[in-house]
Point group: C2
Chain length 344, copies 2
């Protein structure tokens, strides 16, 4: 959407949006003139607002109420008006130190990040760990557990640790397991989980004949180990966000808590985003997830070795402080990316 509004209309639109973000009441013409110091009369502003309504930027809850920004208005705002980049020095420090000192694994770190984002923004913090495409295997270990069980531990370059218990159906003994570990590490280190899965599928199809040799055992064990590997989703801060006045509607709260519980919807949403660079803004009805059409989502990928691996972001009401939130998410993703550069 280009910058199709003239200077004056844009200023009015901006005033309405800012006012509405500050306080979710429909904005009247008189209020705009006073609060934002226009040298026009309310009548003039009314004309402009009527035009903006015709263009689809504003709407009225009812005839004699003020105006409210539409999704289109927020979109315009985000694309054409926002400029100021706030810098989150303290955030940077907090997160940065947390990790450098604590030496946590990826999931803990992401949970922490989500909480930080939430507590600063007062909205929902979101963090998604790298999925199979974004996770590069560093090490896989098979540890004998109970009699017929094996614990598999998977370590990735990104710092994700995953574990799983699988059955020891072939009754492999510890030294065999250790040999398998070695073999797989040598063979697959440096490949993404997805690549490995695909390669495994192919190998296993080809070598079906020689069922019980060591390589084949390794491969099928590995396949089972990687089978459930997927993104983890961290969403935090619901109780805090409920303090906002727009969440005095119970049906809305229900929809939101449903959204939070349905991690799969989030993951499919995130998958669409992984291709694009930088901070992404999804406003209201732009969101394919139906229960999120009254929310806005600000996300950004964080990178490992220049390749986007996971996503962090903020979920809040459409009426959110976009400029702050956008730079917040941007800062946070840069911090994570930077951490990987030096920590890797």
């Amino acid at each position: 959407m280009g910058k199709i509004l003239d200077e004056r209309s844009e200023r009015v639109l901006l005033a309405v949006i800012k006012s509405y973000i500050e306080n979710p009441d429909p904005v009247g013409s008189r209020y705009v003139t006073k609060k934002y110091d226009f040298h026009y009369s309310p009548a003039t502003i009314r004309n402009i607002m009527a035009d903006l309504e015709d263009l689809g930027f504003l709407s009225q809850p009812h005839t004699s109420a003020g105006r409210v920004p539409t999704d289109k208005a927020y979109r315009y705002y985000v694309e054409n008006i926002i400029d100021e980049k706030k810098d989150y020095k303290e955030l940077l420090e907090t997160l940065y130190n947390k990790i450098r000192s604590g030496v946590e694994d990826m999931d803990t770190l992401l949970d922490e990040t989500s909480r930080t984002l939430s507590s600063i923004s007062k909205y929902l913090g979101l963090a998604v760990s790298p999925g199979p495409e974004g996770s590069v295997l560093r090490k896989i270990e098979f540890v004998p557990y109970k009699d017929d069980r094996i614990a598999v531990v998977i370590l990735t370059d990104e710092g994700v640790i995953r574990h799983k218990i699988i059955k020891n159906e072939l009754a492999l003994n510890p030294s065999e397991l250790s040999r398998i570990s070695n073999y797989l590490n040598k063979e697959y280190k440096g490949y993404t989980i997805k690549q490995i899965r695909e390669h495994l599928a192919e190998e296993l199809r080809r070598d079906k004949a020689m069922y019980d040799n060591m390589i084949n055992r390794s491969l099928s064990l590995c396949r089972e180990a990687l089978y459930t590997y997927g993104s983890h989703v961290f969403i935090t801060g619901l109780s805090q966000m409920l303090d906002l006045p727009e969440f005095s509607d119970i049906e809305r709260i229900k929809r939101i808590s449903k959204t939070i519980e349905d991690k799969r919807a989030i993951i499919t949403l995130i998958d669409r985003i992984m291709d694009s660079e930088g901070v992404q803004v999804i406003i209201g009805t732009e969101n394919p997830v139906s229960d999120m059409k009254e929310l806005s989502v600000i996300v950004s990928t964080y990178k490992e070795k220049g390749r986007p691996s996971g996503v962090i972001g903020i979920i809040g009401p459409k009426r959110m402080d976009y400029s702050t939130v956008i730079s917040l998410v941007d800062s946070a993703s840069r911090i994570l990316t930077k951490l990987f550069e030096e920590g890797g």
Copy 2:
């Protein structure tokens, strides 16, 4: 609280409670006579209800409304009236199969259990993994990770797997790490995490002098590895529970979502419970956690080797179907316990 009510009063109390559980409207005398087929007139019932109110079992929202059961009434109900034990065959099967086939680790299993409890009861499902006192070390492994990092993997008899990344400050090489793993496994297998922690603290205090021998390295590494070991709490099903009419109050919803987010409060609550046998019922104000005073909590410990290790349960409104929920929680905890018996 003994059975201090006469037969007739008890029947009336039961009627009020049942009616209120079905439908959260104050219960009137006329309604009781009709619905529950008493051969007394409303006036008589009124007298009885007035007595019950004097005794603290019922209360009136306002003068000319019907009566509502108090916490004391629910308590009496739970202790003296409930008898029917429902059997959750299907639940048993579902959970049972899930585990036997899937071979999951404890945390996954508990999350699953919590979800199952929630989806059957329509309330919140709760599950808490064994804490340091209830977890018996089966195996601890140190896996070299990145240059200066070690991944620690802890396996317990209960099926809990935990991992953690720690710094390799002493620059131990792989074979040293493996020696340390072996040493610790030999030394500490079969002890609870708590016991090990205590023993470590003592050992390290005593051997402070000989700082850099192998044993001491092992011990301090181990201490760091076990430092963060704690219970995990799984609470699920909020959006579902919000459908109940009593949660049309937003302040209440906020309190509940705060409760869910504050895992520590839950853990301290659970700690108090671990000592007791069987299903425990905490009704409303009996709960020390202030944000849970309008809820009831039904919990039971599950056991491993006859020793209670963790807790599962259901959190719901005080007006809950106690008899169903109690037997549900009871069944579930038996299933888990049974699984450990054979699976261990």
